[in-house]
């Protein structure tokens, strides 16, 4: 019972700090470009502003459009329960389920983009499904490699004493590439631009405003932090506690892991250009091959 409460607490903390990760990344990116940039709390202000605004819904849209923000948020929060962040031993943490839960949210988001009848939405929807369907095999293969070393697809088996192998690291790199795409980062997508010919995720949510947009934004922040925590837990399983012990060190350790990942993502975003849509196939092929190498190495026991 205590464990269940702890896990719920973990998801609440995770959701609460999730916009911060995006704020930190934006800040670092701006600093790297010798700009001051907005405060790291800017995502919170944005959400607060969006909640206060009136919503405009397209006349063409149906109930799918209204329901989507709720489904996206619900599936993302449910997915957040699957990843051990500071507390290990939650029995619900199946990695394959995690992949499918995110595809539930994506499915609805893609439908809602088509719902308004705008060509931007259609473009975004088509591209998102295109990219995600190529990301999926790479993700599954990487998860397989990680799980082969772990002995189960359930991430809750991981604890702070778990020794990582080289194949796990390679698989994590492959997974990280998928995560860059899934969190609509450069080189696949660009969160900063609203240029209709290049955007993917932003094109899908173009018609959303007010509260609905806020919910979708929150969902993408949570999705991002869930993925970051996943990588953090896989690569550095230290700082996982089994209960209410070492609270402060565990939490600080987790934040440090998160910060390192944020810096890494910022460096990638600043130093790379967005790829042409069809180059994404090469990107995922590379990720797939990395995951395959990881599988072969895991099979050889490295």
């Amino acid at each position: 019972m205590v464990k269940i409460i702890l896990i719920i607490l973990q998801v609440i903390v995770l959701s609460a700090i999730s916009p911060l990760a995006s704020g930190v990344i934006t800040k670092i990116k701006n600093n790297l470009r010798f700009r001051r940039g907005p405060s790291i709390f800017q995502p919170y202000y944005n959400i607060a502003k969006l909640f206060a605004k009136e919503e405009v819904i397209s006349e063409t849209a149906s109930w799918i459009f209204r329901v989507t923000p709720f489904v996206v948020l619900a599936s993302t929060i449910t997915a957040a329960f699957m990843v051990p962040v500071f507390i290990s031993g939650c029995k619900a943490g199946d990695l394959l389920l995690l992949v499918f839960l995110f595809s539930l949210g994506r499915f609805f988001l893609a439908l809602s983009a088509l719902d308004t009848g705008s060509s931007f939405g259609g473009m975004g929807s088509s591209r998102e499904m295109f990219i995600s369907s190529f990301a999926e095999p790479a993700a599954i293969l990487a998860i397989f490699a990680i799980s082969l070393n772990l002995g189960t697809t359930n991430l809750s088996a991981i604890n702070s004493l778990y020794a990582i192998k080289l194949s796990t690291i390679i698989a994590a790199v492959s997974l990280f590439m998928v995560i860059l795409a899934e969190t609509s980062r450069i080189p696949i997508d660009n969160q900063e631009t609203h240029l209709e010919l290049t955007m993917i995720h932003e094109a899908m949510v173009l018609e959303y405003s007010g509260r609905s947009l806020a919910l979708i934004e929150i969902a993408s922040y949570i999705k991002q932090i869930v993925f970051f925590s996943l990588i953090g837990t896989i690569l550095l399983p230290a700082f996982l506690s089994c209960g209410l012990v070492n609270n402060f060190t565990v939490f600080a350790g987790y934040l440090a892991k998160l910060f390192v990942l944020c810096v890494l993502v910022s460096f990638i975003e600043v130093n790379l250009a967005k790829m042409r849509l069809f180059r994404a196939i090469d990107f995922f092929s590379f990720s797939f091959v990395l995951a395959l190498i990881a599988i072969i190495m895991a099979a050889l026991g490295v």
């Binding site: 595809s103 499915f107 009848g117 259609g122 088509s126 095999p137 293969l141 082969l148």
Partner: protein, 610 residues
Amino acid sequence: MTNIFNLHLGFLYDGLSLFFLATILLISIPSGIYSLGYLKGHFSKGKILYNWFLFILFIVSMLLVVTVNNALVFLICWELMSLVSYFLVVFDEKSEKSQSAGTTYVVMTHIGTAFITLAFLILYKHAGSFDFGVLKAASGTLSPAAKTLVFVFLLIGFGTKAGIVPLHIWLPQAHPQAPSHVSSLMSGVMIKTAIYGIIRFIIFILGVGYLWWGNLILVLAAVSCVVGVIYALMEHDLKKLLAYHSVENIGIILLGLGASMVFLKINLPVLAVFSLAAGLYHLINHAIFKGLLFLCAGSVYKATGTRDIEKLGGLIKKMPYTSAAFLIGAMAISALPPLNGFVSEWLTLQAFFQGALASTSGIKVFLSLCAAALALTSGLAAACFVKAFGVTFLAQPRSNKAKEACEVSFSMKLSMCILSTLTFVFGLFSAIIFKNLLLISKSALGLKALNVNFSPNNLTLIAGNNTAVSLPLVAFMLIAFVAAVVLIFIFAGKLKAKKYNTWDCGYYKLNSRNEYSATAFSKPFRIAFSFFLLPYKKTEKIRESFYHVKTFKYETFTTPVFGKYIYAPLLGIILSLARFMRRLQPGSIHLYISYIFVTIIALIIFMKAF
């Protein structure tokens, strides 16, 4: 020769037969209810009676196929099923398409039957009986070469019916041409009788001979699912799209089956039971959601008179029930939790994972690659159904036909409702259902005594490497979070929203011509898979002046690779051979009499000599 006719007519009531029996009835009943509304107004009274006659005969023949215990009777029922379904395919005899589709179907299915007959004859020659029990007992002593031959013949024979790539060619032609309630039976159930055949004759009677049998089935299955879904993505005919998804899903079912055969050979009986059960689970799930989707497609056709999704759109407002049912079916087939499609794909992936964990290095990599193929398939399937649902039901109507659509009659809604409910039931109560499937799978593999650890509350796997998914819990969480956020909004008191046009870049009001079409949606996929699809496009500009293009025509097609490079040359060879053989028949009676004379002489010599 005598005991061919001395049939021991009897029925099988083992788990496998009962499972298929239940699957057939589960889909047949809603389809029957559906046809009440669907046929009305479409066909004359006599035609409807004729349809009912064929429909019931079709169901009875399928029920017989999965229950008889004699190979010869099995063949007769199999043939009856094929022929009746042929008459159902050409039921709408006015259309040219259904005739040619029917011809392709009847030719392909008979090639399949010929191979099955050959396999049975080899078995009969060895065992001296057509009875399943005798065949099973005798197949143990079959020589390895004969065993392999029987396996290959059975695989080709049943593979044709199941629609394994490259034998799938008839499926996307024939299934859409039949009336929709029949399509739902053909795609949902009839092709599954081929899976029954594979399990019954290859796994149960023949026994898995070599490791490569399983590997071959896995490779064929992986190719089928990826090729099926790629073709489905390119398709804009709603029913044809669904038919290609049948190719894909047969592939997923066979992934479970093939994995089971591999595990049997590498001595992992628990996993063999597990993955066969996963395959069977996907089989019944596919029957449910594909049945549902075909019924929805039929409703769309009935309401609008077209199956071309480029001419549809906006139906969600006109046909709320049909669109909700289609959405549920689409979610299920895209393997989204907590619906049934997710459960079986998760189980299949888990089967691969557990197998990879337990096996040695080469098979580890192979099984992981199969899992990757499955993941690619499920990603592409989700894309395809975003396209199918989005273009058909969302945004604005693209033609007058779609504008004037209205909701279908009660009986049609009822049957769609039954099947939609079943997708939820088979998702949420998966643990109980899977437990029973494990028992069936044990009896099919002849491993009744085996103890498979399984917890009934959630889908927990084999002890030791346990991972669990509790679908009721996931569903509960999803609903709880949706409800929580909605409640917060209601108490915050501001659920009002302004309605306005879709953003039109400050231009003029958008109409349906501005919408993204299905062709546009699938364009990235067409480019990504261009090495296989070989697309070609034709553009045509008519200019008023150098600067002003008056009209612009854009056409794009993909090359049907299998039809063009395998079947067309094959057909050419057969036809030229036939033309060559025609020289034997110049029409002269004298020549024919001399043929008869020569034949008799030859026969006499033959009888004397041997």
